[in-house]
């Protein structure tokens, strides 16, 4: 329905609103907004056909900074609200942005259902493992033992893994990126956009004020080659500064393990090849944690199916085809009626 202008015509500035950004200086969100603008420019959907919907939190401020349509809603409800947007107008490109609190704590249920329904939304979870906006309480993704104002002796609950949760919920597109990875993120975002159905992207985001360095285990540029595994469909799961580390299945424990190609008789053939349509592999990748494993980055899983709003529209079109052209009178007089004659 909308004219698609070619990518050349749009650039990141076209997606930049006039609002001054109000994140803390040094916040990882800055890098993300930059990548998103870049990705959108490359995707090329005109600004008027793009909608950003968010909940509440630092991350959820996002829509204000995009020169698109935007709706900063209430805490945790963005996936539900975005579902309504998409039902009303499936032609819009709808992006949902929220933090780990917004989408996995108060909004966990909506995230679950929007994923299972496979609504065609691009869902960006900015995971900083903390509640930023409310000043630093631990979140459902915070590691055990997190010291925070609400857990002065350290948190005792086990964190939820955003990607394992998404896979368990039945998500059909699950990916990961890192705030500072300006090269990688736009590519992942473009993949998310291209996937029709719910695309779930977890972005590791550094909260410099309340949780600085939460991801330094693997997000540091310097050590990245050894701590990150960039997965790509059809490519072997190889990483390491020397490009010789790989992931293979250890059949004894029915789990993954890290091996070094060329050591102990391990060859490239032993290394698993990424198949992004394989849910089991995606589950494994989602569970790999530093320092034992590299952290998997990229599209962990992608296995499209009809999206929810498309199916809903299809039923409506079918109904319209089947039923006589609807007039209000035919509705009001449907079923049994009788006539009282003038007397």
């Amino acid at each position: 329905m909308n004219d698609i202008v070619t990518a050349e015509e749009l650039n990141a500035k076209d997606f930049t609103s006039d609002q001054e950004i109000r994140w803390c200086p040094g916040c990882g969100d800055f890098a993300i907004v930059k990548s998103v603008r870049k990705a959108l420019a490359e995707i090329g959907t005109p600004t008027e056909n793009v909608v950003f919907v968010s909940g509440i939190g630092c991350a959820a401020r996002f829509p204000y900074y995009m020169a698109t349509y935007g709706f900063h809603t209430i805490h945790g409800r963005a996936p539900a609200i975005a579902t309504g947007v998409k039902l009303a107008n499936p032609d819009l490109d709808v992006w949902v942005v929220g933090g780990d609190g917004d989408m996995l704590s108060i909004g966990g249920n909506h995230t679950l259902h929007v994923l299972r329904r496979n609504v065609d939304l691009n869902i960006l979870l900015f995971n900083n493992e903390i509640y930023g906006l409310t000043k630093g309480q631990y979140s459902p993704t915070s590691r055990e033992g997190t010291l925070s104002p609400s857990t002065p002796m350290g948190s005792v609950d086990h964190p939820v893994s955003a990607t394992s949760f998404a896979l368990g919920a039945g998500a059909r597109f699950v990916a990961r990126s890192i705030d500072t990875d300006q090269k990688h993120m736009p590519e992942v975002l473009k993949r998310a956009h291209a996937h029709k159905g719910a695309s779930f992207v977890e972005i590791f985001q550094n909260c410099i004020v309340y949780n600085d360095g939460a991801f330094s285990d693997f997000a540091e540029k310097r050590t990245a080659p050894d701590t990150q595994l960039h997965v790509e469909h059809g490519q072997p799961l190889i990483f390491g500064a020397d490009g010789n580390k790989g992931i293979r299945i250890n059949h004894d424990i029915l789990d993954l393990e890290v091996v070094t190609v060329g050591e102990n008789g391990v060859t490239l053939d032993d290394v698993l090849v990424h198949d992004e349509t394989n849910r089991t592999l995606a589950g494994w990748l989602a569970r790999m944690e530093a320092p034992e494993f590299p952290v998997a980055i990229g599209v962990l899983y992608c296995d499209p199916a009809e999206s929810y709003e498309a199916a809903v529209r299809r039923q409506i079109e079918d109904a319209k085809k089947k039923a006589p052209p609807p007039s209000l009178n035919s509705l009001l007089q449907s079923g049994h009626t009788w006539t009282v004659e003038p007397h």
Partner: protein, 625 residues
């Protein structure tokens, strides 16, 4: 008139008595098909041209064990030749298909009323299940009524013996036998029901259709031929004096659904209706789910919060967002409704009220949530509240809700209740071609656009469809600057926006009709002020008392927020104002506050509608004081 009733009628006419109005209650086990019986009887009553109102009273359980009191299903119908406004205070006739149905319902029957029982079901086991220590048909405990025991079970089985249904299915025709008898009694044609049975079972289960029709006819024949006890006879009721036109019966649920569809078409919008099932609100979702060809999208969300959220998203995207629920679910929606208020988006919230607090009595009616509608949100958050006063009225109310929501960019709460949702009444079907459209003018002009600029007259902000070139903008729940809508923590701006939110809603008072008096003078000794489903009993009660010469008037509120501009002044013209409510006095509170009129409440919180007599008593008590 078709052949079947012809001769019967002629014979019957000999002994038929003419009556003005009657209340009949069918009662039996939930498996007995009571609702269906009642529904069919209502249909033929409507066809006979009489006015009517029905009250289906479902058991709370899905399918309670056979014979238990809590498994009793009942259906009351009040019909007659003059205007029928309630489903009737006390039944003139009770049909009880088992002991449990008798014990649960007998107390409400008029003294001397006719009670037809299926004596075949009054076996020891059933009596025990119902809690009878001895057989009430034999122990003289029912002396106050005229009991007519008929072995309906046996007669039904006999009547279907020539068909091929088994005994269980045969017995299931009891309700049709009963319907036949009552049809005879009130001079109803059988063809509409036999046609309907053919249509329903004919193709797939021809033997079932055959058996049901046979039972129906047998019940009717029984009336014509059997020796009737004293006072049991056929009645004639004249058709009511209806305006000419096309008629149908509607429940409040249907009328609301059709009103929403009509309103949306008048506004030029698609409906996106987002809901989560809950008794007694689910019906609206079910009805709308079948109207896909009218551009209605329904979405069964994961919970009420998601439902209202999706409706808000739909409105944001330029459709008509509708959400519906009952008390507990509406409570959950309050935070999100605040967002719609803050962002000034149209939204329709239908609350089909039920008895509370908490889960309360989900299948019972109550005007429980006036407070929740008017006051139940964080912070100062005015919106529009309107209430339907009957099943048919729900149609207009729904259209009005759409008009106000879209014209003023505001959420509108429609208050309905269990009674209205389920009760059926005849409705003169309006001609949709004569409705005045109120097409939404989505903003497309980019020149001078600001998301929170306002229409001078309505104070509404512009509605923009995402997808509109050049109008990209951001809105949200943080306080917004007066025009630009940008986030603002400015003190004066907050005051101004708060004032504006109030003014916008208050201003709607200029766009709604002045309050009229339903019946009686516009001043006098006592006004009875009602809202919602108390309309019927108040109307009837005031009518009775006025015919006795009492200076009583009936005023019925549709607009609860804002209220009609003349309401305070109108109420002040009465010595006393009585507010009957199926709650602990919620409207009373608001009226007292707004107009400093010392209204008095008449409270009933039993899960049942007011009886006319209760309101009459209430009025008498005030008149005598």
């Amino acid at each position: 008139m078709s052949s079947d009733g012809n001769t019967a009628l002629k014979l019957a006419e000999v002994r038929r008595e003419e009556v003005d109005e009657v209340v009949v209650r069918f009662a039996g086990d939930s498996g007995d098909g009571i609702q269906l019986t009642g529904g069919r009887f209502a249909e033929t009553t409507a066809i006979a041209g009489q006015d009517l109102e029905t009250f289906p009273d479902f058991p709370a359980e899905i399918r309670a064990p056979i014979g238990t009191t809590y498994g009793v299903s009942a259906f009351q119908i009040h019909f007659g030749s003059s205007a029928i406004l309630t489903s009737g205070d006390a039944p003139d006739v009770l049909v009880a298909l088992n002991p449990a149905a008798l014990i649960v319902n007998i107390e409400e029957v008029k003294l001397g009323g006719l009670v037809i029982v299926d004596s075949g079901s009054f076996k020891d086991k059933n009596l025990r299940k119902a809690g009878y220590e001895s057989n009430p048909l034999e122990d003289g405990s029912l002396e106050k009524y005229r009991i007519f025991p008929i072995d309906i079970s046996r007669l039904t089985l006999e009547s279907v013996s020539h068909t091929e249904v088994n005994k269980r299915d045969g017995l299931r025709c009891k309700n049709m036998w009963t319907l036949g008898l009552i049809s005879w009694m009130y001079d109803r044609r059988l063809t509409p029901t036999s046609d309907w049975l053919e249509g329903k079972f004919g193709k797939k289960l021809p033997e079932v259709a055959k058996a049901n029709i046979a039972a129906l006819k047998a019940g009717h024949a029984f009336g014509e031929t059997a020796e009737m006890p004293d006072g049991v006879r056929g009645f004639t009721i004249q058709p009511a004096d209806f305006e000419p036109g096309i008629y149908r019966t509607v429940t409040g649920t249907e009328a609301t659904a059709w009103g929403l569809v009509t309103g949306a078409q008048l506004a030029g919008l698609k409906i996106i209706m987002c809901s989560y099932p809950i008794t007694p609100a689910s019906g609206l979702l079910h009805v709308l789910a079948r109207l896909k060809s009218y551009d209605v999208t329904t979405f069964q969300a994961e919970d009420e919060i998601a439902a209202v959220g999706a409706a808000i998203g739909a409105s944001y995207a330029g459709s008509l967002g509708v959400t519906s629920s009952s008390g507990p679910g509406i409570a959950l929606k309050t935070e999100a409704i605040g967002l719609a208020i803050a962002t000034e988006l149209p939204l329709i919230v239908v609350n089909t009220q039920r008895a509370g607090p908490s889960t309360g009595m989900p299948t019972k009616t109550e005007q429980s949530d006036l407070y929740l509608a008017v006051y139940g949100r964080n912070a100062d958050s005015p919106l529009v509240v309107i209430a339907a006063h009957s099943s048919a009225d729900s149609f207009e109310v729904a259209i009005e809700a759409v008009r106000l929501a879209t014209k003023y960019m505001t959420p509108v709460i429609i208050l309905s209740d269990t009674y209205i949702a389920n009760a059926a009444e005849p409705w003169r079907v309006p001609d949709a071609d004569h409705f005045k459209p109120f097409k939404v003018g989505f903003r497309t002009e980019t020149e001078g656009f600001q998301p929170f600029m306002r229409d001078g007259a309505t104070l509404a902000r512009p509605w923009v469809k995402p997808g509109t070139l050049g109008l990209e903008h951001r809105i949200g729940g943080l306080e917004r600057a007066y025009d630009s809508g940008n986030v603002s923590y400015d003190a004066e701006n907050h005051q101004r926006m708060t004032n504006t939110r109030f003014k916008k809603i208050e201003g709607i008072a200029d766009d709604i009709p002045l309050q009229t008096v339903e019946s009686g003078a516009d001043s006098g000794q006592l006004a009875v002020l009602g809202w919602g489903s108390t309309y019927g009993p108040i109307s009837s009660a005031v009518g009775h008392l006025r015919s006795e010469g009492k200076a009583v008037s009936h005023i019925h509120l549709r607009y609860i927020n804002p209220m009609p501009k003349n309401l305070g002044e109108l109420l002040a013209r009465f010595d006393k104002v009585l507010v009957p409510e199926m709650n602990m006095g919620q409207l009373s509170t608001i009226v007292r506050d707004r107009f400093m009129v010392p209204v008095e409440g008449l409270r009933k919180v039993t899960g049942k509608p007011f009886r006319i007599a209760e309101i009459e008593d209430g009025i008498h008590a005030r008149l005598e004081k």
